[in-house]
Point group: C2
Chain length 279, copies 2
């Protein structure tokens, strides 16, 4: 997905939020804003938005001398989601269509996303998403693909959401590789975050080799790119993975909530939709 003019104000908003979370003083925050203005001036609109997001978070990490400003937030998100795990597991045990419910839960977990908004009630979202009709529902195609392949490459999104991914992986009858970021960016899940959520109990955890938001293939490791190229089926969670991989073809299935109006428009659904879309 390209970068739209509507993304410009949002980049500045995210830069300011990240500066505050990293504890930058007003002069440093001003410095971040000025540098983001410069980056925006030179922006190539054909590039995907997370490429600039990466620059912004890198800048904030450098100026704050804090390699992981979202660490506490991520730990709290994971702990909150783990607190729901028994109730979510019970929901699945009672479900008539466990895979459908698990897919919905995995999308419900996508509400955990600090890049967009900080107000959410996780359990309320779960209830809502279990009832909400899909705006795009390619789950039949996904089921069919799951029958066909030996392995799924599962691209994680945020810490906390990982717990919901774990529930889905527990319902899948196929080997899953769970791919997390190679280093901290925003509240994206790293190996450490995935371990806190217990993902190692259900899947080997692999690294994209990149600490950029989404999956920017040219910033991933050679090892991950080979894995990605070989994958017969990729489940990609969240908006940033959609933004960075939307052109990668039908091997990919995107599971997300459209929390950003620009992404919603690009996907072709209303804001606030739940989406299971084949690439």
């Amino acid at each position: 997905m390209r970068t739209y003019l509507e993304c410009y104000p949002c980049f500045l908003r995210q830069a300011l939020e990240a500066s505050r979370i990293a504890g930058l003083d007003p002069d440093q925050a001003h410095q971040v804003m000025r540098q983001v203005l410069e980056l925006l001036k030179g922006l190539d609109p054909s590039q995907t938005p997370p490429l600039l997001g990466d620059e912004i978070h890198r800048l904030v990490r450098r100026l704050s001398s804090n390699p992981d400003p979202y660490r506490q937030i991520k730990q709290a998100s994971t702990a909150q989601a783990l607190g729901l795990y028994p109730r979510l597991k019970a929901l699945l045990d009672e479900a008539e269509e466990p895979l459908d419910t698990a897919l919905r839960l995995s999308i419900a977990g996508n509400i955990i996303d600090l890049a967009i908004g900080r107000e959410y009630d996780l359990w309320e979202t779960v209830q809502l998403v279990l009832q909400q009709p899909f705006a795009i529902d390619d789950s039949a195609e996904l089921r069919e693909a799951l029958e066909r392949v030996d392995q799924v490459l599962y691209l994680a999104d945020n810490a906390g959401e990982t717990v919901f991914d774990r529930l889905l992986i527990e319902e899948l009858d196929v080997e899953v590789l769970y791919a997390v970021k190679g280093g901290p960016t925003l509240n994206d899940a790293t190996r450490e975050d995935a371990l806190q959520a217990g993902l190692d109990q259900v899947a080997p955890i692999v690294s994209t080799g990149s600490d950029a938001p989404g999956t920017i293939l040219k910033r991933c490791s050679e090892a991950f790119r080979q894995r990605f190229d070989r994958a017969e089926l990729v489940i990609a969670k969240g908006q940033a993975n959609y933004e960075t991989l939307s052109e990668q073809g039908p091997r990919l299935f995107f599971l997300l909530q459209t929390k950003c109006p620009v992404i919603a428009q690009d996907v072709g659904v209303p804001l606030g939709s739940i989406v299971l879309k084949q690439g």
Copy 2:
């Protein structure tokens, strides 16, 4: 009021909205955004936000070759408010405290503000504001001042809101000069808009001599500045007049709704408050 870092994304959002309303093509809108990025880089944070707002809307008017892109919106807002006029007048006729009700109505009219958000239901807002407690209520001081002076300088805000101003002016037992913008900017009321709302039936209409949002004194005419300096009592409507005149002392009374989180914080009240504040 100074410009905060939180204003930066909002300026870009406003620039994009103005570009769309003025019908700029994508290349022109991109040009506007790039120029606003340049203006933001050089911004002196001690200046008031409407100074940059002025530059943005000037730029959009120039690029679109449209001296009044908000004309239709303003006319529709005024027509909508005029449609409510008989019901609002009836409310005042039945009011136990007509001046209090008229002050509240004038603040209710301040919801008409395209710089912030486009979704509003005017009548619902009226009902709400009539019940809502003031976050700051200097109406006792205002009443006292109204007893003391011979004339009020009333600084208009947006087209449509003018109709609510008219209702307040009809309740005042003192001569009022109604000051409108010297030329179109955003949806701010000009003489033409004030005439559509029937303000000439209740007060002489004077011009600030400036087509900037708010009241940026150094951009006003010499004649208006003299009028402003001589005024014993000034009623200043809306956020932009607060932003540009908040340091002008106790002759000023600000009537506004805090629709912007930064202004709410500067005033020291929650977002969405109704405020009657002495300078």
